[in-house]
C-alpha cells in the first residue's frame, strides 16, 4: 500500500514537472520568437508545448550523441549487469557496455531510422495518392484495389512475412515498413485530394493548360498540407513503434548497434529482480511517441477549426 502511494506520488510529481516544463518552454518561445510564430505558440495547450520541448530534446541528443555520451556505444567498460554507480551512471548491460551511452546513441539510431522510414512511406504514399485522385480512371482503380488487398493483411504479420522472404537487415526493414505504411498514407492522401480535385479553381487550372506536376505542387498540395502534416506525425509514431517491436523481437536492428527495442530485450531479466533499468529504453520510446501525439492532437484540433 505504501509502495503504491509513493508510486502515485512520483507519477503526480512527474506530471506536474512536465506541465511546468511545458509552461516555461511556451513562455520562452512566446518571448523570443517573431510575432507570427509567437501568436501561434500562445494557443498551444501545455501538453503540446511539453511535446514540442521533448521532441527538440530528442533531436538535440540525436545530433550530439558523440559529445554527450561518456563511452562509445560498443565499448565494453565493465562486468555484466553492474548497478548504477558514479562511473556508469545507469550501470552496464548484459555484455558490460555502458547503459547511458547506449541509450544516448540509440536516440540517433532508432529515431533516425524511424524518420527515414516514415519519410519514405510518406513520399511514396502521398505521390501515388495524389496521382490516383487527379488522373482517376484505371490508374486509380489499380492502385486502390492493390492497397485494399495489402491492407487486408495485419501490418506486423505482413512485415514478418516480407522479412522472412528478404532476410532480416536494417535496409530490408526500412523498405518493408515504408511499403506497408505507404498504403495508409495513400488512403488519406487520395481521400483529401479527391475533395480538392472537384473544386472550380482546379478545373480552371486544368483548362489553363497546367501540367500534372504543376497541378500537384501548386494547386492541390498547398490545400492538402494540414491533414498530411498531421498524418506524418501519426505515421512516424506507428513506424517508430513497429521498428521498436521488430527490434525487440530480434528481427530489426542488428547488434552491436544500440537500439531501444533490442536494449529492452537484452536486459529484460533485470526487471524480475526489481531493477527498473530495462524500462528506461522502453520509456524513451513511449515518451517520444506521447510527445509527438500531443503535438499532432493540437495541430489537428487547430486545423479542424474547433473551438472546444
Amino acid at each position: 500500500m505504501i509502495g503504491f502511494l509513493t508510486g502515485l506520488l512520483w507519477l503526480l510529481g512527474g506530471i506536474a514537472a512536465a506541465m511546468a516544463a511545458g509552461w516555461l518552454f511556451r513562455t520562452l518561445m512566446v518571448t523570443i520568437s517573431p510575432r507570427g510564430v509567437a501568436k501561434e505558440m500562445r494557443t498551444a495547450p501545455l501538453t503540446a508545448s511539453f511535446g514540442m520541448l521533448m521532441i527538440l530534446i530528442y533531436i538535440f541528443v540525436a545530433f550530439f550523441a558523440h559529445w554527450l555520451a561518456p563511452f562509445s556505444e560498443t565499448a565494453i567498460v565493465g562486468r555484466e549487469y553492474e548497478p548504477w554507480s558514479s562511473v556508469n551512471l545507469l550501470g552496464t548491460d548484459n555484455l558490460g557496455r555502458d547503459m547511458l551511452s547506449r541509450l544516448i546513441y540509440a536516440a540517433r539510431n532508432t529515431v533516425g531510422i524511424a524518420f527515414v522510414t516514415s519519410a519514405l512511406a510518406f513520399i511514396l504514399g502521398s505521390v501515388l495518392g495524389l496521382l490516383a485522385a487527379i488522373v482517376g480512371g484505371w490508374l486509380d482503380q489499380i492502385l486502390s484495389r492493390t492497397v485494399d488487398v495489402l491492407m487486408a493483411i495485419p501490418a506486423l504479420i505482413f512485415a514478418l512475412l516480407l522479412l522472412t522472404i528478404l532476410g532480416t537487415s536494417v535496409i530490408n526493414m526500412i523498405l518493408v515498413i515504408a511499403l506497408i505504411d505507404s498504403t495508409r498514407v495513400y488512403r488519406l492522401a487520395r481521400a483529401v485530394a479527391m475533395n480538392i480535385v472537384v473544386m472550380d479553381y482546379v478545373e480552371a487550372a486544368k483548362l489553363r493548360g497546367e501540367g500534372l506536376w504543376r497541378l500537384i505542387t501548386r494547386e492541390i498540395l498547398p490545400n492538402a498540407m494540414a491533414p498530411l502534416v498531421a498524418e506524418f506525425g501519426l505515421r512516424f509514431c506507428f513506424v517508430f513503434l513497429t521498428i521498436s517491436a521488430l527490434s525487440f523481437l530480434g528481427l530489426g536492428m542488428q547488434p552491436p548497434t544500440a537500439d531501444w527495442g533490442s536494449m529492452v530485450k537484452d536486459n529484460a531479466t533485470l526487471i524480475t529482480f526489481g531493477d527498473i533499468t530495462p524500462l528506461l529504453p522502453a520509456g524513451a520510446i513511449a515518451l517520444l511517441t506521447v510527445s509527438v501525439n500531443f503535438v499532432v492532437d493540437w495541430q489537428l484540433h487547430r486545423a479542424s477549426g474547433l473551438k472546444e
Binding site: 485494399d148 487486408a152 505482413f158 521498436s244 509527438v292 501525439n293
Partner: protein
C-alpha cells in the same frame, strides 16, 4: 431474397476474394526468395545433383500456377506442409498453439470489451468532468506505449520479487481452467490495457455525436435521467460505430499477441512465427501468416455485417 441477405452474401464473396488474393501474395513469397529454394534448404555445400533431386521432390520444376493450385488444395485440406527447420508437419506444430493464442485473445477481449464500453458510457455521461479528462489523457498516452513497455511495467509491479502473478506464463500439458486464468493473467491484462483506451474513446465519441440530435433533447425534456437517455436512446443508435471499433481492436489483438507472447514466453502462434522468421522457415511463416490474415479478414467481415444488422433502416429497406 431480402436485400439484407444479398448484402451479406456480397460481403462474404468479397471476403473470400480478399482471402484468395492474400493467399496468392503469401504463396508468391516463396517465389521471390532470392536464390534457389532447394539451395536455400540444403545450404552452400550441397552438390548440384542433390539440389536437382530436391527440386524434383518439392515439385519446383512445375509451372507456377500448377504449384499454386496444388498448394492451395493442400491448404484447404489442412495439409500445411513440412517445417524446413525440423521436418515436423506444420499443421501439428500449429495445432495446439492456435488454441492457446485464440484463448489468450478471447481472455483479453472478455475483460477489455465490457470494461471499455462501461468506461466510454461513463465518460460520455460525465463529459468535460475530471473523470472524462483523465480518461482521455490516459487513453492518448496508452495508445502511444509500445506493448512490451506495458508488459514489463506490469511484470515490475505485479510479478517480480514477492509478486502475485508469474512473470512467465509457460503452459505445459493439461492445466485446469482456474490455473490457466491465473497463469495467463498478465499477458491478458497487457493486451487489455493496450486496446481498452481506443475502444473507450470511440464509444464516447459515438455517443456524444448523437447527444445534439432532437430526439435526445426530447427525451431529456420528458424528464428522463441522463443515464437512461444515454443507455436507452443514444446507445442503440451508436451501436454501428461501436461494433466497428470493437472488431477493429479484436483484429488488433491478433497482431498485438505476437509481441506479448514473446515477452511472457507464452506458447502461442506469435512465438512460433517469430522463431520461424529468424530461421527463415518459409512453410511455417506462410501458414501462420495465412491463419492470422484469415482471422483478420473474418473479423472485419463480421463487423461489417453486424454494423449493418444493427441499423433497422438497412434491414427493413423498401
Amino acid at each position: 431474397m431480402p436485400p439484407i441477405l444479398i448484402m451479406i452474401l456480397q460481403r462474404l464473396a468479397l471476403g473470400v476474394v480478399t482471402l484468395f488474393v492474400v493467399s496468392l501474395i503469401i504463396f508468391l513469397g516463396t517465389e521471390l526468395l532470392p536464390g534457389d529454394f532447394a539451395q536455400e534448404i540444403l545450404g552452400q555445400s550441397a552438390t548440384p545433383a542433390t539440389v536437382a533431386a530436391l527440386r524434383e521432390q518439392l515439385g519446383l520444376n512445375d509451372p507456377l500456377f500448377v504449384r499454386y493450385g496444388g498448394w492451395l488444395a493442400d491448404v484447404v485440406r489442412g495439409d500445411l506442409g513440412v517445417s524446413l527447420a525440423n521436418g515436423q508437419s506444420v499443421a501439428e506444430l500449429i495445432g495446439r498453439r492456435l488454441g492457446y493464442t485464440l484463448s489468450l485473445a478471447l481472455y483479453a477481449a472478455a475483460i477489455a470489451v465490457p470494461l471499455s464500453l462501461v468506461l466510454g458510457i461513463l465518460a460520455a455521461l460525465l463529459r468535460n468532468s475530471v473523470f472524462d479528462r483523465v480518461a482521455n489523457a490516459s487513453a492518448l498516452t496508452s495508445i502511444s506505449f509500445p506493448e512490451f513497455f506495458v508488459a514489463y511495467i506490469l511484470i515490475f509491479l505485479l510479478a517480480g520479487a514477492g509478486g502475485m502473478f508469474p512473470s512467465i506464463s509457460s503452459i505445459r500439458g493439461e492445466v485446469s481452467f482456474g490455473e490457466y486464468l491465473y497463469r495467463a493473467f498478465l499477458p491478458a491484462l497487457t493486451l487489455t490495457l493496450v486496446v481498452t483506451a481506443h475502444m473507450m474513446r470511440m464509444t464516447r465519441a459515438a455517443i456524444i455525436n448523437l447527444l445534439a440530435s432532437p430526439y435526445i433533447e426530447m427525451a431529456r425534456l420528458k424528464g428522463m435521467s441522463p443515464m437512461r437517455v444515454i443507455v436507452r436512446h443514444a446507445l442503440p443508435n451508436a451501436l454501428a460505430p461501436i461494433i466497428n471499433v470493437v472488431a477493429l481492436n479484436l483484429a488488433y489483438l491478433i497482431t498485438g499477441v505476437v509481441v506479448v507472447e514473446v515477452v511472457f514466453v507464452y506458447p502461442g502462434m506469435g512465438q512460433l512465427m517469430v522463431d520461424s522468421v529468424a530461421a527463415r522457415d518459409m512453410p511455417v511463416v506462410q501458414a501462420v501468416a495465412l491463419i492470422f490474415a484469415a482471422a483478420y479478414v473474418l473479423l472485419n467481415l463480421t463487423a461489417d455485417v453486424l454494423a449493418t444488422l444493427s441499423n433497422p433502416r438497412l434491414v427493413h429497406r423498401r
